[in-house]
Assembly symmetry: D2
């Protein structure tokens, strides 16, 4: 069932779980002992393996989110699942979409875009850094999600080669410098999303986007609050991420 190279989740408990690829001759070292990853190849999803100390761990199929956030090699700051979800769904990105993205970074958002445009869509991901793209490429190849992705070393502020794309997603410090290129790259009705950490950037981006004639310009932030649910003692969790970034959505008319 589990083949060489498949991703597996090795789960001891909620605080201790790992996402790795099943590989002959490799080992996973944990503080519950060593797991021989060849053993995983003999198990099935839903089954279990034991460490050399005899501690049992469940084997299950990880989700895309599990793999991306647990196993990706990352060099850049990461974007959060709540923001990725909103970008993809609110930009209307789905099977068959053609999407331009910049910068590639470690490929976290790229992986989700690639997953959602399958099987016939395309992702064109730009980064000015060869180093970033090298990591991102490796990350996506490991997931088999590199098939529909075009890695482009380039600056979207200078040029975007693609035309009539369905969406452009920019995670750049100065998206206002790319607005004209975005406008000529998008199809009518195409969606433009910027991810921005500061108010100053939101203000500048919104102004440039409005001036370029985009409609439905909307700036939002999503706050995710976790609930600690327990019989008779349910309350919001004490710790919370207070900020990740703002999302500016707009539509080419």
């Amino acid at each position: 069932m589990i083949k060489e190279g498949d991703w597996v989740k090795i789960y001891f408990n909620e605080r201790k779980w790992f996402v790795v690829r099943a590989m002959k001759g490799r080992e996973l070292h944990t503080d519950e002992g060593i797991i021989n990853l060849s053993d995983v190849l003999k198990a099935e999803y839903g089954g279990s393996v034991r460490t050399h100390l005899g501690v049992e761990a469940l084997i299950s199929k990880p989700s895309l989110e599990d793999i991306v956030f647990r196993a990706f090699r990352r060099k850049t700051q990461v974007i959060y699942p709540k923001d990725i979800a909103s970008i993809i769904v609110r930009a209307g990105i789905g099977p068959g979409s053609r999407v331009v993205e910049a910068g590639t970074g470690s490929g976290v958002l790229t992986a989700f875009l690639a997953f959602y445009v399958r099987p016939n869509g395309e992702v064109y991901t730009y980064d000015i850094s060869y180093g970033h793209q090298k990591i991102a490429k490796k990350n996506l190849r490991g997931l088999g999600l590199n098939v529909n992705v075009h890695f482009i070393i380039g600056d979207v502020r200078k040029t975007i080669h693609q035309k009539e794309v369905d969406a452009v997603i920019l995670d750049l410090p100065d998206p206002w410098n790319a607005v004209k290129n975005v406008a000529s790259s998008l199809r009518g009705g195409g969606r433009f999303v910027c991810f921005l950490p500061t108010y100053n950037q939101v203000e500048k981006a919104v102004e440039a986007i409005r001036e370029a004639g985009f409609i439905h310009v909307e700036s939002v932030e999503l706050l995710e609050r976790r609930i600690k649910a327990k019989r008779g003692e349910t309350r919001p969790e004490f710790l919370m991420r207070g900020h990740t970034g703002f999302l500016v959505f707009s539509t080419k008319p």
Copy 2:
């Protein structure tokens, strides 16, 4: 370019825009005057039409979100885009996924699920009300998104027919009564999401989900805050939706 039956957005300004189907012989009555929808058939996306009073409106291609939230006939309370996005992406629902959903309601979430599982996935949507499903079916047919959707009149608390599905999404008042059926319907690693308005429901649902052996049980709420961006006067908007519902995510091991 625009064909009979195609969805179009007729846009006067940010506060006045409509999503309708281009139809010979139909009219759209607005306070800027009447638009003959036959005229739309002669226009193109990106072009414009005029009302009988001579007021111009842009014609563009609406997004799925535009159509669902502007043109769906609705009888039940609606789920918000921020929650839909999180449900779909965090449940790992994408091209090819097989998903069980209950209840169908007006088909708002169903439409998004159907859009995202294309072209090879399947949505099995349950509702105990024939009336709801009739509206939902009509809504989805209008979008051409009914192809991969199986409408089932039935109660998931009694039985879920499908096995080895990738995700189950319940927007029901008492999901705890369906947990066993959900567990036997999901594949290993499959994701289970409940949408729930009250803390009491979250508490009961989480307890039942944990007892059924699900892992990664996580309860969150998403607060969307809009930013009013204007040069030198940027601030959060005064009005905000304070609550829509809680999301309880979990994974079958």
Copy 3:
């Protein structure tokens, strides 16, 4: 017990209650009928009166908050109780404090300051508009809270006459222009608070405050979320105020 001129709360139910002064010969017109305010003088706090239609209303002693937010004549935008509370307590304003405030506006914050510095403290409230102060004076006189308040027509950006004050509270669009005057007016350890609606103002104010050598510079916003508590159906309320303003606190070293 209730004397001519005393404030009373006339309470029908949670959605219908009034704060007025008991006055011979005056009437309160409500959609439950007319209340003769002379009748109130014969009642006691905790007692009740009836409208000419026979509907009963409870008579109770209103709080300062009740009076200020229900009975003050207002011409300017109002500051919210959550922000007033934080300003007063976090600025350390209490019995005996000497406080400078600008602008007076309708006197909402002034009333709370005057209440809290009693019996020996002083509030110096500046406004450049004679019209504002006239309303504020009348509002405070009605509460008997004008005794320790000095109404000053003047511009704190030009001069603040008082020295060695314990706190300065500015609800002005450009507090950065008053920072030097604030610094020379405050005693060492004195607290400076700005109430500001936009991020741009926070940014400019914080920069000026830091440059002037203030310490403990802290910018916060308070979000108040109401809970609808009902057995088995407890949840946050659907409507929420998304923004009132930011508070910038600092301390003169």
Copy 4:
């Protein structure tokens, strides 16, 4: 100027500051060196002292908040300034108020109540633990705020001795068991506030408070979000406290 026993703030920088009492023969050990607290007695507020390593520190007068949150000995979980502020101001507690509080805990809220009811008000603080009150008494004595405070070892669920008080503040796990005593202790128009960590408690408390005939029953939570203000890079802070507790306000009619 600074006398033996006075509280002083010794400030190196925003991350390194201390609140201590000036005392002959005592030393403050810091990683910038040792400060002889006798030296502080020779300085003035606004002046400075040096460590034995020659590092300079500013001497200033600490606020009540500084002293309570930096120098109080604490054994119990603490209540936050945002909540203290709201309790005091929204309960209408000010100079001259007579207030009942339970439990005393380490005296954090007690200190603020004592500060605000000066010079003629009274605080009656109940705790069932002698140990808590011993610490609280010592904490308040150090501030000179014990004068108007009556420390009572007792259980407000069994009896509250005081009558016609202006406000009752309960930071107890089961305030519903004290509601009847609260109702007979408060004057008409008196305010009742509960501080509660969980939804379950809010639900039970609100039900009991409504049944006891209280009006204006209001449950809120305050979220404090800090802003990192910096020219061109202003944004909310990444870390945030997600929850402290809920406040339930009500009024005796």
